[in-house]
């Protein structure tokens, strides 16, 4: 429940927030690095830009990166895992060894490498993160498929004359959806942190576009003069990550047939 409220709050912030705040690129030359005040609720940064506006816009960019990269990874990874698990003899060994290769790298290292190759932009960050998330999703899907394909009702479907495609999508995949929804929800905070990290390192979203990682990077050098600049994007990253994780746990409790209701 807490997770749901947090996530819903962030979605509202990302969608509505930018409409209510100032232009995140507008500069107030009279007040650079101003502390929080009536005119600028969270103060201004070194270029006199409104910190609240930048955090609100950052929510939009950061959540977009988090959600889209997981979505992309699911769209590509679930079919791969499904087919690998189903055609176990033919495809599984090849696919799983490739997955092992990618999984041998820590998530962030791989994402940093991918982003460095692709070049910095929001689109490339999303691609880099989704490729890094892909092996985990392929593996979870395949694991579910390996269990589900042995179930009695799958054998019964074969006995009723169902073909491979029908069995995969009507009998095996529906059984895996709850696990996959949880997996996706838990993948989003990883991607949000990944985006922030890449942007912080300068490999991700580029200034002046505000994402939480970008804002945090800019705030870093003024930490002793204007600490409020760094606190809010940091709090946002922490809270959104917490929110999605709690939501994932909550969904697992609701959806997982193995957990008691």
């Amino acid at each position: 429940m807490v997770g749901l409220v947090l996530v819903a709050g962030f979605l509202v912030l990302a969608i509505v927030g930018p409409l209510l705040t100032a232009d995140p690129a507008a500069q107030d030359y009279t007040a650079p690095l101003a502390p929080p005040s009536g005119a600028h609720l969270l103060g201004t940064d070194d270029l006199g830009r409104d910190a609240l506006a930048r955090v609100a816009y950052g929510a939009r960019v950061s959540l977009e990166a988090g959600v889209l990269s997981v979505l992309l990874a699911m769209v590509v990874g679930v079919p791969i895992g499904l087919v690998a698990g189903y055609y176990r003899r033919l495809l599984d060994p090849v696919v799983m060894r490739l997955v092992d290769v990618v999984l041998a790298f820590p998530f962030l290292i791989f994402a940093v490498g991918m982003a460095a190759i692709l070049g910095p932009s929001l689109r490339n960050v999303i691609i880099a993160l989704s490729v890094s998330l892909l092996p985990g999703i392929v593996r979870v899907t395949r694991g579910e498929v390996l269990v589900l394909r042995e179930l009695d009702y799958v054998a019964a479907a074969v006995a009723d004359g169902a073909g491979d495609g029908r069995i995969m999508f009507r009998y095996v995949l529906p059984g895996a959806t709850s696990t996959l929804i949880v997996q996706a929800t838990v993948g989003i905070p990883t991607a949000i942190i990944g985006e922030a990290t890449l942007s912080f390192l300068g490999l991700g979203v580029q200034p002046p576009t505000p994402s939480w990682g970008v804002v945090l990077t800019a705030a870093q050098q003024f930490l002793d003069q204007a600490p409020w600049l760094a606190i809010w994007p940091g709090v946002m990253i922490a809270l959104s990550t917490l929110g999605f994780n709690l939501l994932g746990d909550g969904l697992r409790d609701v959806l997982d047939p193995r957990s008691s209701r």
Partner: protein, 334 residues
């Protein structure tokens, strides 16, 4: 010509320990509208024999030879694609576990309708109407309401009836029921058996009933084949088999029924058993596979394997020293 003719069927499975021979050599026939029981203890090859018909065996490790003809059409040589058209349409299967044999993600109506739409090209609404009729046919009350329910909302007996409804949806010629009542309460069992009998009477479906429950066999089967170690050891019409079992194994199974339990001095009753274990399914023994456990075994049983001999109409048994007709169900045991 019989509806189904199985001749010289052999089925083996490749394993890491070599080939396991599940069915060593079996021939049997099934007539239209007949209920044939395949019985024997676990591992005797009864399920494998039946599952060979629609070839529901792991394709890459199964070695199958012999002939299976359905209405004269050879099934063993059909490619997977053509078998798929036969499964659920001409040959259907009802599995043992009603609790897990239905897809939990869809309503039972959807699952019945799916088979109809696939094999009979029915429209969505026609399939739905037919699904309700089928639920009624298998004796589910309030079918119009049940059709919209999910498997978890139904009891085990209900689910087994739904499984049967799916299996008979396309009026199959052969229905294979693999221990269909084993997982059910005894009170529910009789009801499910009635459904089978009713289907045979109304639709003329031939049924192969796989079971180790001789009570079930006596209840509904017309004819029974007793299997041991991958071969048929005795085959007879059910009344004949119960009245005059010839093979010592059949006689042993019948003595192991609770109704045949022996009353001891202190008033307790003791179930009879067949001593020993089923032989391992690796090497094919040259001798009678049952001789180590057989009370009537003699020297010749250890050197040669007995072939099926005829003992009256439709009664076959493979034994050198069969029980005599005059003294049914005697000889040996513990």
């Amino acid at each position: 010509m019989s509806l189904l003719e199985i001749t010289g069927l052999k089925v083996g499975f490749d394993t890491e320990d070599g080939e396991v021979q599940a069915v060593r050599d079996i021939s049997l026939t099934l007539e239209r509208g007949e209920i044939l029981a395949l019985c024997g203890e676990s591992g005797c090859g009864k399920s494998v024999t039946a599952m060979s018909i629609p070839r529901l065996l792991p394709p890459d490790t199964t070695r199958l030879s012999g002939s299976i003809r359905l209405d004269g059409r050879e099934l063993t040589e059909l490619p997977e694609r053509e078998l798929r058209a036969i499964r659920g349409k001409d040959v259907s299967v009802v599995f043992q576990e009603p609790m897990t044999s239905l897809n939990p993600s869809f309503t039972v109506g959807f699952q019945i309708a799916e088979v109809l739409r696939r094999h009979e090209n029915l429209s969505r609404s026609a399939a739905r109407t037919r699904a309700i009729e089928l639920l009624e046919l298998v004796g589910i009350p309030a079918p119009a309401r049940r059709v919209k329910e999910y498997p978890h909302q139904l009891s085990g007996g209900m689910r087994q009836r739904v499984m049967i409804a799916i299996a008979v949806a396309c009026s199959p010629r052969v229905l294979i029921a693999d221990e269909p009542t084993t997982a059910l309460d005894v009170t529910i069992q009789a009801g499910v058996l009635d459904v089978f009998r009713d289907l045979r009477d109304r639709l003329g479906t031939a049924i192969i009933l796989i079971t180790h429950d001789l009570g079930v066999v006596a209840d509904i089967a017309d004819r029974a084949v007793v299997m041991y170690a991958g071969r048929a050891v005795e085959e007879a019409p059910v009344t004949e088999l119960y009245a005059r079992p010839r093979h010592p194994y059949t006689a042993g199974l019948m003595r192991a029924l609770p109704s045949a339990a022996v009353t001891l001095e202190d008033g307790r009753r003791r179930l009879s058993e067949i001593p020993g274990l089923v032989p391992p399914p690796y090497a094919d023994p040259e001798e009678c596979a049952f001789h180590p456990r057989c009370p009537r075994a003699q020297d010749d049983c250890t050197t040669r394997r007995p072939a099926l001999d005829t003992y009256g109409t439709g009664h076959l048994a493979a034994c050198f020293h069969p029980l005599s007709a005059a003294a049914p169900a005697t000889g040996g045991g513990s």
